[in-house]
Amino acid sequence: MIDVIDLTKRYGSLTVLDHITETIHEGERIAIIGPSGSGKSTFLRCLNCMEDPTSGSIIFEGTDLADMKVNINIHRRHMGMVFQQFNLFHNKTVLDNITLAPLLIALRASRRQRFTAFWKRLLGKPTPDVKTHAQLKAEKEAQAHTLLRRIGLEEKASVYPSTLSGGQKQRVAIARAMAMNPKVMLFDEPTSALDPEMVGEVLELIRQLADDGMTMVIVTHEMGFAREVASRVFFMAGGVIMEQGTPEEIFDHPKCDRLQDFLSKVI
């Protein structure tokens, strides 16, 4: 699904990702672990080109996202991203946070359809029905309500994010990403900014997504969670994926010294 080919990322003279080649398949749940500064976030952010790779390719469903001529916005819609700091839109209600992008995109598409329908009608050809603004809005809001029900926050639809707890914010952020019907979800330390008592509710939601077969890549410091949910674990250090394997291989039979050392410190 995502082919990372010879990915390198430099900031000035600092090489953060060093010639990484890796394939992420559909249905995989990849956990990325590793010490601070090893390039985990940078790797994740290169997957949807939030950071542009210095060199190399990110082939997502046959398109090289690293190619600057590609319209990245279209492809990002299929890749949900969840941030450590939630990054909910402060100026939008919970419902609007979820519907903003799907609605804007649908409206733009319907405007284009209406435009072509107009010419077809002039030429006397049959015209397809184009949904109105109100119909699309109702549709997207219904979808958002379904998502909110699923994360147990339906009664919060009309509040602003500033009134939510950290755990609630992150669940809404996940719902916002899910509203795009992404093919893959990218999580960057989704529970690191949370108070301990709220970590559970967020991990539980991510676990549900995993059970539904969502392809996901999670950067995490929650080793227990990685072990339980991941189908494959990457250990990153010094800008490369130093070791990878099933959770059993990584956590129970680590091969390289760096990983053994890392695990002895975090567990």
């Binding site: 949807n48 990002r76 819609r77 890749m79 949900g80 990054n87 916002r176």
Partner: protein, 239 residues
């Protein structure tokens, strides 16, 4: 009490011109124009300033944003670096006939004041945009919105809220600066009161009243901004 008696006489003469001779028509027209120039100027200024600010904070690794940025810098440097009177005179007496624009004095004033204000608002707006957490833009881009869409839908509204008090000051500055539009023959508050004064060759009372009107205007605007700020903050906390 000779001085006081003389003042009362002047006051009577002023009232006579203002009310019996229809001087209030000038005042109303002047007030309307003053506010019109300031309001249209501010709206134009916010539009221009927002565009400039968005260009200035754009990532610069492509060529087009770099070129646009240079243009915006030159624009801001010009409008901040020359007196507004000069901009008004050049705009009205040089550019307007040269470009063959069919603009009234009032229209020209709105345009020039808007363009001038745009330069100042762009700096305010840039500060406002920079005060918004970069994560907001990132989140917008991550759900597939383009740079401009994400800026306009998410970042700029938050920036505007942060800079509302400063924009209010810009509006007040504009209201005050409009008192120079008589240079190109537009009728504003100052011109109205000058007419009234000329009627009796007596300027003390008209200019005193004019000053009071400006003060009241500024106080009202200040109050309006206070109220707007409060209602915005409320929407933030609404459950």
């Amino acid at each position: 009490m000779d001085g006081f008696a003389r003042f009362i006489k002047k006051w009577d003469a002023f009232l006579h011109t203002l009310i019996d001779d229809g001087g209030y028509n000038w005042v109303l027209e002047g007030l309307r124009n003053t506010l019109l120039i300031a309001v249209v100027g501010l709206i134009l200024g916010i539009l221009i300033g927002t565009v400039i600010a968005m260009v200035e904070v754009m990532p610069k690794y492509k060529r087009l944003p770099r070129v646009l940025n240079k243009v915006c810098h030159a624009y801001v440097a010009f409008f901040r670096g020359t007196p507004i009177v000069v901009q008004l005179l050049v705009g009205y007496f040089v550019l307007r006939p040269m470009l063959g624009l069919n603009l009234s004095a009032l229209g020209s004033c709105m345009l020039i004041f808007g363009m001038n204000s745009g330069a100042y608002v762009s700096e305010i707006m840039r500060g406002g945009i920079n005060s918004v957490d970069p994560g907001q833009l990132e989140a917008g881009r991550a759900v597939g919105l383009g740079y401009w869409t994400a800026m306009l839908k998410i970042v700029v509204p938050q920036a505007v809220k942060n800079i509302l008090p400063t924009i209010g000051n810009e509006f007040i500055a504009l209201v005050k600066d409009t008192s120079i539009v008589s240079f190109v023959g537009a009728t504003d508050l100052y011109v109205a009161f000058k007419y009234i004064g000329t009627n009796n060759y007596e300027f003390m009372v008209p200019y005193l009243v004019m000053a009071l009107i400006y003060i009241v205007l500024v106080l009202l605007i200040t109050l309006g901004i206070r109220l707007m700020e409060r209602s915005l903050n409320k929407s933030d906390r609404r459950h």
